[in-house]
Subunit: 128 residues, 2 copies
């Protein structure tokens, strides 16, 4: 049929993909990932471009760490945060199964524009 | 620098990508999308494989409709739900910017496995 894995009431906590999507459902957390894609950064460095307190940034970081999108070094004074790409790979693989749908809708748009051009050459001719 | 658009306190509601990620952060909603990728379906048909009431399914459908992932026909008796791929395309484009990170980590794994094979040929030789 189709890949359905409904979550029963006895299942403990949300699945990994749901945790990842939930972590990504916030523009500040996505901006933190974008910053980390340029290289490791401390919490203070991450907080700098945002109008947010350190505790607020730490809360976002905890969500990102729980989902496995960010890991933090263990050295006491300098604990840089680092991007972990594995959950993003899972998102890419999940969404790729729908590629044919958006490609089909882009194709239809393409066909429509070509049809418009074919049926309305007079509009351009009138200009010349 | 990097694409940061922190959400200020005056901004109305969440951005489109956050709404999409939030809608995808549930296994039942993803299963509904998987079902609709096989073709249009009524709410009753969508509810069938799940151990959920019609109102519970309707609630999930509302979330999917608000995010633009599903649209419902307007014919009174037969209102089929249909997949709308545009928000999934946006997710694919967003996650694609991180491709080099997971490809790099797969490359590193590849290098490591090749190194293992190079340094431990004796283990295989002993078998023959």
């Amino acid at each position: 049929m189709y890949p359905v894995t409904p979550q029963g009431p006895t299942q403990p906590g949300p699945d990994a993909l749901s945790v990842t999507f939930s972590a990504l459902a916030d523009p500040t957390r996505r901006a933190i990932l974008a910053r980390l894609s340029a290289g490791e950064a401390t919490v203070t460095e991450l907080a700098a471009p945002f109008d947010l307190t350190l505790p607020a940034i730490s809360k976002h970081l905890k969500v990102l760490q729980r989902s496995g999108l960010v890991e933090q070094g263990r050295r006491a004074q300098w604990r840089p945060c680092r991007l972990r790409p594995e959950p993003l790979h899972d998102v890419a693989e999940w969404v790729a199964q729908y590629r044919r749908f958006w490609e089909a809708s882009l194709d239809r748009l393409d066909d429509y524009l070509r049809e418009l051009q074919a049926t309305q050459p007079a509009a351009d001719d009138r200009q010349t």
